[in-house]
Each structure stands twice: as structure tokens, then as C-alpha cells.
């Protein structure tokens, strides 16, 4: 067996401060960098995705685990993405579907 790299205490604390900083940014962004709705959502979701990445990689140890675990997560994300893409067509075109057929 090869020796596995593991999460160190100092790395864990570094990630914690990164998460604190990102959470503060989530909280303050609308007050200090006021944007229109689509930009606000884009910025907020971007921060959330970075936070999720940090939590997954370090707090959930995916960076240090075997690749199979990362595949489980990747397949979950792909499955959800497919659901979101298909539903977005429904959301966007629902009112126009009758026009489409006539």
C-alpha cells in the first residue's frame, strides 16, 4: 500500500479562513457591490460553487480519497445538471409551445 497524503491541521484552518472570507463576501456583496439581479445571482452562485469545491475537496477529504468517490460526486453533479437543462427548456418555452405547433 502506498502512503496516503492526509489533511493536515494547518491546511484545515487555512480552508476555514477561506470559507469565512467567502461567506463574508456572500453576505456583503449586495451592499457593497450592488449589481442587477442576474449579476447578483451569478456572483452568489459562483461564490457558493467555490465554497462547495473547498468543502468537498478538503472538509470531505475528496482530494485525499480514492478516485471512485470523486466519480460518485461527479455523476451526481452530471445527473442534476441534466435535470436542470431539461427543465430549463420547459421553463423557458412553456408559454410558447402552442405557437410552436400552429
Amino acid at each position: 500500500m502506498t502512503h496516503h497524503e492526509t489533511l493536515t491541521e494547518s491546511m484545515f484552518i487555512k480552508v476555514f479562513f477561506a470559507l469565512i472570507a467567502l461567506t463574508t463576501l456572500t453576505f456583503l456583496q449586495p451592499y457593497f457591490m450592488h449589481q442587477d439581479l442576474s449579476n447578483t445571482i451569478a456572483i452568489q452562485m459562483f461564490i457558493a460553487v467555490i465554497k462547495t469545491f473547498l468543502i468537498g475537496a478538503y472538509y470531505m477529504h475528496l482530494k485525499y480519497e480514492q478516485p471512485l468517490f470523486r466519480w460518485v460526486v461527479l455523476i451526481a453533479v452530471i445527473t442534476l445538471t441534466i435535470f436542470f437543462v431539461i427543465t430549463s427548456f420547459d421553463a423557458i418555452y412553456r408559454n410558447d409551445i402552442n405557437d410552436f405547433f400552429t
Partner: protein, 221 residues
């Protein structure tokens, strides 16, 4: 077929052979199983976020109006409380792996304390809404526009389901401490603790998306 005469051999990490009698120490398997459970959790919450996104798109103005009425200070405080609780949980696991059992137990207790604070804040937040007559199927809420009814329906359902996960998490942490005291979880065998920590990180991760979508979007008008 009779397998009783066959001897099955399995090799440990050091390459030593062992006869399989009741093999119950597959930590990688336990973790993989738990990741599959987390997969289903992602589908559960993912489906709810999908519904939220769909109605947000169709009733954008209503959703923003409703979002602006939520208490962003309480929501924000809870975001930090949950983040700090995951810090203690993760640090407890690191301590435990290093053999610092009592330190780890203190960290788990702190995680439980922060979880209870989270639920208390949530209680006051919900109570404020309910005092304003805003709860599912209330007369005041039903008189409002369709999108606002949907927003609050999703708000109570999603934060409620998240709250149920917090309560289950607290129960699991108490269970972990009991198993440590009983000697089932040891510094050599701690996969249950690892899995509960994974669960707690997932609960945190869901909130990472819940908070901006429900509380912050209303400020983006």
C-alpha cells in the same frame, strides 16, 4: 451449494492472510456506501433546488418581493454558526485521528452546541414569520400572489427539511460520543465518525446554496 468446507482468505494492508469468518472491517466500503447515500441526498435537495429555480424563473418579481421580507441578519448569523460547527466537527476528526480522544469529544460537543444555536435562531426566524401570519396555507399567505405563496412554501419546506437534517445530525453526534465511550469507535477504527462528519459537511453544503438563493436574491432588485 455447500461452501462450509471452503476457506476464504483475505489479505490486509500489510499483506498478511486472514481467514474470512465475518469480515466487517471494510472502511473503504463503508465510506463508499455512505457516498452513495450522500448521492441520494444530493438528488433530494437538488430536486428541490430545481423546483425553486423553475418557479424563480416564472415568478421572478414575486420571489424577489418575498425574499426581501426574510430576516437576512438571522439567516447570515446562522450561516456563520453552521460554518463554525463544521470547523469543530472536522477538527474533532483530525484530533481523533491523532489520538487526542478527549479533545475530539469536546469538539463534537461544541458542534452539537452550535447546531442547537442554529436551530434556536431558526425557531425565532420561523416564529417571526408565523406571527406575521406567514405559514403554509395561512389565510394571509393564501391571499397573496401565486409566486409569493410558492416562495414561502419552498422556504418552509426546504429550510424545514434542512432543519430535520440538523436534528438527525445532532442525534448522530451523540451516538458517535456514545460509541467512543463504549469503545466501538477507536483511534484505529473510526469510519463511523468519518461518515457522520461527511454528513455534517453535506448539511453545511446545502445551506451554502439555501442562504444566497432565499435571503440574498431579494437584495438584487
Amino acid at each position: 451449494m455447500d461452501h462450509s468446507s471452503e476457506i476464504e482468505i483475505i489479505y490486509d494492508k500489510q499483506g498478511n492472510p486472514h481467514e474470512v469468518i465475518d469480515f466487517n472491517d471494510d472502511d473503504e466500503g463503508s465510506k463508499l456506501g455512505f457516498w452513495f447515500f450522500l448521492f441520494t441526498e444530493l438528488m433530494l435537495f437538488g430536486g428541490m433546488f430545481l423546483v425553486f429555480t423553475f418557479y424563480f424563473y416564472r415568478y421572478t418579481d414575486n420571489f424577489l418581493e418575498a425574499s426581501a421580507t426574510l430576516n437576512i441578519v438571522l439567516g447570515g448569523i446562522n450561516t456563520f454558526i453552521l460554518l463554525i460547527s463544521t470547523y469543530f466537527m472536522g477538527m474533532g476528526l483530525i484530533n481523533f485521528k491523532n489520538g487526542e480522544v478527549s479533545k475530539a469529544k469536546v469538539k463534537i460537543v461544541l458542534t452539537i452546541v452550535f447546531s442547537i444555536i442554529f436551530l434556536t435562531v431558526k425557531y425565532f426566524e420561523w416564529m417571526a414569520e408565523i406571527h406575521h401570519g406567514i405559514y403554509p396555507d395561512s389565510e394571509i399567505l393564501n391571499a397573496k400572489e401565486h409566486g409569493i405563496i410558492l416562495f414561502f412554501g419552498l422556504y418552509f419546506t426546504m429550510t424545514g427539511l434542512h432543519g430535520v437534517h440538523i436534528i438527525i445530525g445532532i442525534a448522530l453526534m451523540v451516538w458517535v460520543i456514545l460509541l467512543m465511550n463504549r469503545g466501538t469507535i477507536t483511534t484505529k477504527k473510526y469510519v463511523i465518525f468519518e461518515n457522520v462528519a461527511l454528513y455534517w459537511d453535506l448539511v453545511h453544503m446545502v445551506w451554502v446554496f439555501l442562504f444566497p438563493l432565499f435571503y440574498i436574491t431579494g437584495l438584487g432588485r
